[in-house]
Amino acid sequence: MTTERSDEEKLTEFEARVGRGEKVEPGDWMPDDYRKTLIRMIGQHAHSEIVGQLPEGKWIPYAPGFRRKLTLIAKVQDEAGHGQLLYRAAETLGKPREEMLEELLAGKAKYANVFNYPTPTWADVGVIGWLVDMAAVVNQTMLAQTSYGPYGRAMKRICYEESFHIKQGYDLIVALTKGTPEQRATVQDAINRWWYPTLMMSGPPDKLSAHTSQSIKWKIKTKTNEQVRQEFVDLIVPQIHALGFSVPDKDCHYDENTGHWHYAQPDWEELKRVVNGDGPCNKERLAVRNKAHDDGRWVREALAAKQQRKDVAA
């Protein structure tokens, strides 16, 4: 083998490789902080997919019509699948899935702020697909370019499925838009409630973000939170206007000079509170997640018994 190099030399070589656009694979040498940042990011991302099933999942029994019900079941199943893909990607960095699942159940893990808000109407299901998943796709399309191979591969698969989520949400909203004035009003009300939480999804502004500059340098992310948020705003505002709705931001306007939509910043203190456990539905989400885990225990026990029988037979 080659002669032993110092960590400093390895870091220089690592940064040069990443700088050239080469991908990092699980067996490669990587700085500790690179590994830690990715475990944190991918873990939070996985938890977000798992918890993300809940706000919409509760609407499955009430979905209007069989096709909408099948669609919603498929979407929620996708989120579960995305969670599993992401736990696997995080595991390649050395953290067992079991540990991550337990952290989530114990309320020690962070996940996307947005899933801690209530879904009182059917329009919420549409707005989650249309707005929330659109914001997620803008972020995930960026993450598909990440320097960490397994994360990028998971993102490419996930982005493909998320495009279905946006379409079904938009389609549902269009159907409500063509409905009664009351139905249209539920859409506007849902947009009003989801607008700021969705803007928060891309993370705090760059000047408040502890991790951004290092993550950009190592190409863990290829765009800053602000860039991702602006991209989302530029995509969604014209769509909202096209359907005859508005965003709850009087000052939101197209800026000829920058070529971007100007928008008001959300309340960043609220983001901090909600992510740290004090949002409108954090307790409910964790309780439902824990109940699902407990209710599924008999399945895991049956699978474990199957494995034991195989081990005895072998």
Binding site: M1, E98, R157, L303
Partner: protein, 95 residues
């Protein structure tokens, strides 16, 4: 309580007959049969698929990214490369 940490199985997906099986990811499962079911749910619930393989991750023998010399061609092996032969086939046939 350790009841969620099964072994992992690598999943290979074949889109249609004649195509190669391509590695698409991995799943946790207690055995290969259950791994096939999870692989179907995870990787074939939407895209076209005619065949899946699962292989216990432990059974995959891989090269080491660090050991770049493994792939180094220390000798000139151009004689293995069809592009290294430039005799025009047609003309040779006429002579």
């Amino acid at each position: 309580m350790s009841d969620t940490q099964f072994e992992t199985y690598e999943v290979f997906h074949q889109k249609k007959k004649g195509d190669p099986h391509i590695h698409v990811g991995s799943v946790h499962a207690p055995d290969a049969q259950v791994a096939l079911q999870y692989a179907r749910d995870q990787f074939a619930r939407r895209l076209q698929c005619v065949s899946l393989w699962v292989v216990n991750s432990k059974d995959v023998v891989a090269t080491d990214y660090q050991d770049e010399r493994f792939f180094n061609m220390t000798l000139d092996k151009s004689y293995r490369d069809p592009k290294d032969f430039d005799a025009p086939l047609k003309e040779a046939a006429h002579e």
